[in-house]
């Protein structure tokens, strides 16, 4: 096997480092959004690990709005405030474009490292303003029309309902099977490098994955200062 050929994957510690870089860039370039936080995963509960810091990235309470004309806006002008589930009168469609048929949904996103596939995996769940969880079909209908099409046709990205690796609850997951393939292609074609600076891995990864679930990233994030 050619050692210098990168296979599109990254190690657990590379993921941790890359996550940190990603979170910092996001905070810098995406002030309208809440920041991603790093959650330490306690693999064996009640024991802290002081080895490689294992954890995942979390972005919660992101408001995604689907309006009539099939456009999805997320966390639009006004407050980027966190939706307080106990507070029924929190940010809602009132602050958004005055379209009465706008229904806000709230998403939680977790980016979790898969030790089996050696790539990040996006987990997410959605709920309505009243706290009710959305089923898989409903979520698919909330996603941008483009991505719904992409999902149906693509062998690389599809959503399934699976158990969250740490939280023992059903979440939706964007399937990781082809991630290493398209990451490799991305870097070869776009970046024209054989092996990326691993810190940039998540930024690039998210540039592909984000739009599928309605979260774009600003161009500035992709540019390395």
């Amino acid at each position: 096997m050619n050692e210098s050929a990168w296979d599109g994957t990254l190690s657990a510690s590379e993921f941790s480092a890359s996550a940190q870089a990603f979170a910092e860039k996001w905070k810098l370039n995406n002030p309208a959004y809440p920041p991603w936080t790093w959650v330490k995963s306690l693999e064996v509960p009640i024991f802290a690990t002081n080895q490689v810091e294992e954890g995942y990235l979390s972005l919660e309470n992101v408001c995604i709005v689907k309006s009539n004309d099939d456009e999805v806006a997320s966390c639009v002008e006004g407050e980027a405030s966190l939706y307080d589930k106990e507070d029924e009168e929190s940010t809602d469609s009132a602050t958004l474009s005055g379209n009465d048929n706008v229904q806000p949904y709230y998403f939680d996103f977790h980016i979790i490292y898969s030790a089996s596939f050696r790539v990040p995996v996006l987990y997410f769940r959605a709920y309505c303003s009243d706290g009710r969880s959305l089923g898989l079909n409903e979520i698919e209908s909330v996603l941008p029309a483009n991505s719904a099409k992409v999902l149906l046709e693509s062998k690389w990205t599809f959503i399934t309902q699976e158990e969250h690796p740490y939280l023992n609850r059903p979440w939706c997951k964007l399937h990781p099977c082809g991630s290493s393939d398209w990451m490799k292609l991305l870097f070869q074609a776009v970046e024209k490098v054989d092996r990326p600076a691993m810190e940039l891995y998540l930024v690039s990864w998210f540039s592909v994955v984000g739009p599928v679930i309605g979260l774009g990233i600003p161009i500035q994030m992709l540019k390395e200062p």
Binding site: V44, P45, A48, T49, P165, N168, C177
Partner: protein, 344 residues
């Protein structure tokens, strides 16, 4: 290899399945269903056998089947044998489960739409194992739909012959090592492992006194490939556990030196054979020490794979090759007691 595989595939758990009282509409209530469930199978696959017992007594509505043990909803994608090994510290025969046909706890369990969901989950696990062992999913992806179906059906029917035929098309390798030749103990590669860890905080001498598991939050699920790359030494089951749980066993200790001694190996074979004939009947002799002199080190109270308690010195390659499930994962249930000094 064949013998061990047969042992694994023939393993079965006698179940006594009770319909939940809220769903009983007849007087007297129906008697429980007695079913012999293959260890390597999955609970939802038993539905065709179970339903006839209860169909006349169910309330009207659509069936959404789920199982429960002492109040704990059971994760349907975990093989039946693994659930039994994990949740019954003291093996219960028959194993008393409750079945529900209504009120699926969808906030806790991922949906199960019958055999298709289970099959899908199985094939995905097979792909994951393929990826771990080979670095890609090609073996599974290149199987034709009908071959995949054949493979799946062999699992549903616990038919080892059919499975062997089907999986020859899969070409999934065995974990390579020189164990058979006894020339060296070099073992290389990655082993797909799923570890279910239950930290038991109270001390108990007898498995009967083990507190029941009332929530899945009390179990740590570790789905992490085991990397083996130790030349010249035998990578044992004990080493494997320590590698997979660095949080508990990491820093101070070096993994035990393997026993390169053929003789001790010979006697181990016998012990293994003896253990194999008693399905899960083995008592917990003494708690298996991690070999440390320190009092504050974690203690493996129990380690079960396919209903047996292999000696910790067993080479992991043997364990992985002989005790794995059809989807090529090794499922290991461990009860660990960590002294309170270490807990948060």
């Amino acid at each position: 290899m064949k013998e061990a595989q047969e042992f694994v595939w023939m393993g079965a758990i006698p179940l006594q399945i009770h319909l939940h009282e809220s769903e009983v509409t007849t007087v007297p209530p129906p008697p429980p269903a007695l079913i012999l469930a293959p260890r390597i199978g999955y609970l939802p696959l038993l539905l065709p056998l179970i339903k006839p017992y209860f169909s006349s007594t169910l309330p009207p509505g659509v069936d959404t089947v789920w199982f429960e043990y002492k109040g704990l909803p059971l994760k349907w994608y975990i093989p039946t044998g693994v659930l039994f090994d994990l949740l019954c510290a003291e093996p219960e025969r028959p194993w008393n489960l409750t079945i529900h046909f209504r009120g699926y706890p969808s906030h806790l369990l991922i949906p199960c739409e019958g055999e298709d969901s289970v099959k899908w989950n199985f094939i995905n696990s097979l792909k994951e194992a393929d990826y771990i062992i080979n670095g890609n999913c090609k073996n599974v992806m290149h199987m034709s739909q009908s071959d995949q179906l054949e493979l799946w059906n062999s699992v549903v029917n616990a038919n080892l012959e059919a499975f062997i035929r089907s999986s020859s098309k899969l070409k999934s390798g065995t974990i390579e090592d020189d164990y058979a030749s006894k020339i060296s103990w070099m073992v290389l590669g990655k082993v797909p492992v799923r570890l279910y860890v239950w930290n038991v905080s109270e001390d108990f001498g007898d498995m009967e006194d083990a507190p029941p598991i009332d929530s899945w939050d009390r179990i740590s699920y570790v789905n992490r490939p085991l990397e083996i790359h130790r030349e010249g030494k035998c990578f044992t089951l004990h080493d494997a556990i320590k590698t997979l749980l660095p949080e508990l066993f990491g820093k101070k200790r070096k993994p035990s030196e393997g026993e390169n001694d053929e003789q001790s190996f010979g006697s181990e074979e016998e012990t293994k054979n003896n253990r194999m004939t008693e399905e899960g009947e083995g008592n917990i002799s003494q708690p298996l020490e991690t070999g440390s002199t320190a009092d504050d080190d974690p203690e493996i109270k129990l380690l079960r794979i396919q209903g047996i308690e292999p000696k910790l010195e067993t080479p992991i390659s043997w364990v992985a090759n002989h005790l794995r499930h059809p989807e090529n994962f090794l499922h290991v249930c461990v009860y660990i007691k960590v002294p309170s000094a270490k807990s948060l």
